[in-house]
Chain length 208, copies 2
DNA sequence: GTCTATATCGGGATAGAC
DNA sequence: GTCTATCCCGATATAGAC
C-alpha cells in the first residue's frame, strides 16, 4: 500500500498520520497502523518506543516548519500588509499541503502527555506571538484598525486553520484561490461600502 | 460535588460534559464520569444505555438549540447586516454560555457512531445552509462583497466557533465585547482605508 | 528487522443482590 | 435506583525466536 521508496520508519509515520487524522489518536489502534504499514504491531517498537512517540514526532515536525517559515517572513517583509498576506499564505499553504498532519496538531493536543504537551504548546504560543506582533505593529503604524490584538490573532489563526478540515486537493478551488479569498476577507471584511462616509464611523460602537 | 437540585440523570450528563471536554470522548472513562456524579459506573446504565448515548444527547440538545435560534433570526430579520450581526451574536453567545458542550460538538464528531453521526452532521449542514443563505442574499442585494459563499460561511463559522476554546467567563472581555470585535472584523476587516480610492480596486486579484 | 506468542491492564457493559 | 462482582474484549507493550 505504501510506496517502496520510503523507509519503514516513514511508512509507519505515514500510516499513523492517516489513522490519527481519520479516527483520532485514542481511537486508532496500533495494530491498524501496523497493518497499514505492512508489518505486525510488535515491529513498530523497533522503530518507535511508543504510540505517543508517533504523535509527538508528527506534531513537532510540522509545528517547527510552520514556525520557522513564519519567522523568515517576519525577517523578509516589513510592511504590515505584506506580512499579513504572507503569514496567511504560509499558514494556508502548509495546512493544505499537509492537511492530515495539521488536522492532528489542531485536534489532538489533549492527547499529548506531560512534557511533550508543554513543549508543543510552547511552540504554538511562539507562533501566536509572531502573529500578534504583525498585528500590533500594523495597528501602531495605523495600517490596521485598532482592535484587541490577542482576540484578533486567535480569529485569524482559527480561520486559516480550519481550511485543513474542508479543503480537498484537486477540488473546486486551488490553494491560491483559497488564500486570496481569506486574505480578502481578513483585510477588507464582508461589507461593501457604497459611499464613503466619515471613516470615524467604524470606531463607534457596533450596536446602536 | 454536584448541586442537589438536579436529577441524577442531569448530574451524569454534566459530569460527562466536563470530562469529554477535558480529556476527549475516548479518553474519558465511564468510571470517572460516575465518580464525578457520585455513583458507581454500573449505575449509569440505569439512566443511559451506553457511553455513546451520553455523547449523542449532549450534541443533539445543543445543536438543536443553535439551529432553532438561527432559524428565528432569519424570520425576524431581513436586512443582511442585521442578520449577519445577529447570527454572529447567537453563535458566540451559545458558544460562550455552553463552552464545554460546544467544544465537544466541535471536536468529537468523529467519535459518533453510524446513525448518530449522520443525523448530527445533517443538523450541522442545516446550520451551514442558513449561514450561506444570509451571505447569498446579502451578496445578491449588493450589501456584501461578491465572494465564494461556501468558503466564506466556513470561515465565519470557524471564527465564531473557536471562541469556545479560549473564552473565559469573567475574564478580561465580556461576551458582548467579543461579539463586537468579531462582528467588526467580519464586516469591516482589518485594514484601515485612509483615502477612498475607486472601490472597484478590491475586485481585482490580490497578488500583483 | 520482523515475526509469533503473550503479559498486563483498563475499558464498556451485564448480572443479580439489596 | 444503586450497589458489588464480574465478564469479556481490545488495547499497548514486551519476550524471545528466526
Amino acid at each position: 500500500m505504501q510506496p517502496e521508496g520510503r523507509s519503514m520508519r516513514e511508512n509507519i509515520l505515514a500510516a499513523a498520520v492517516q489513522l490519527f487524522s481519520e479516527y483520532g489518536y485514542h481511537a486508532a489502534p496500533l495494530r491498524d497502523i501496523a497493518r497499514l504499514a505492512g508489518i505486525q504491531a510488535a515491529s513498530i517498537y523497533h522503530h518507535y518506543p511508543s504510540k505517543q512517540a508517533l504523535l509527538v514526532e508528527i506534531m513537532e515536525k510540522h509545528m517547527q516548519q510552520l514556525n520557522s517559515k513564519l519567522e523568515r517572513i517576519l525577517h523578509e517583509y516589513h510592511d504590515p500588509l505584506d506580512r499579513l498576506r504572507e503569514a496567511i499564505a504560509n499558514h494556508i499553504r502548509l495546512h493544505t499541503s499537509n492537511k492530515a498532519e495539521f488536522f492532528i496538531i489542531d485536534t489532538e493536543l489533549r492527547a499529548l502527555e506531560g512534557e511533550h504537551r508543554t513543549r508543543i504548546i510552547a511552540m504554538r504560543d511562539t507562533y501566536d506571538a509572531m502573529i500578534q506582533e504583525i498585528l500590533r505593529d500594523g495597528m501602531e503604524r495605523g495600517v490596521f484598525h485598532p482592535s484587541d490584538v490577542k482576540v484578533t490573532s486567535y480569529a485569524i489563526i482559527a480561520l486559516c486553520t480550519q481550511v485543513s478540515s474542508w479543503f480537498r486537493p484537486g477540488g473546486r478551488l486551488s490553494v491560491q484561490q483559497v488564500i486570496d479569498i481569506y486574505y480578502q476577507m481578513v483585510s477588507q471584511g464582508l461589507v461593501r461600502v457604497p459611499e464613503h462616509k466619515d471613516e470615524q464611523k467604524r470606531e463607534e460602537s457596533v450596536r446602536t
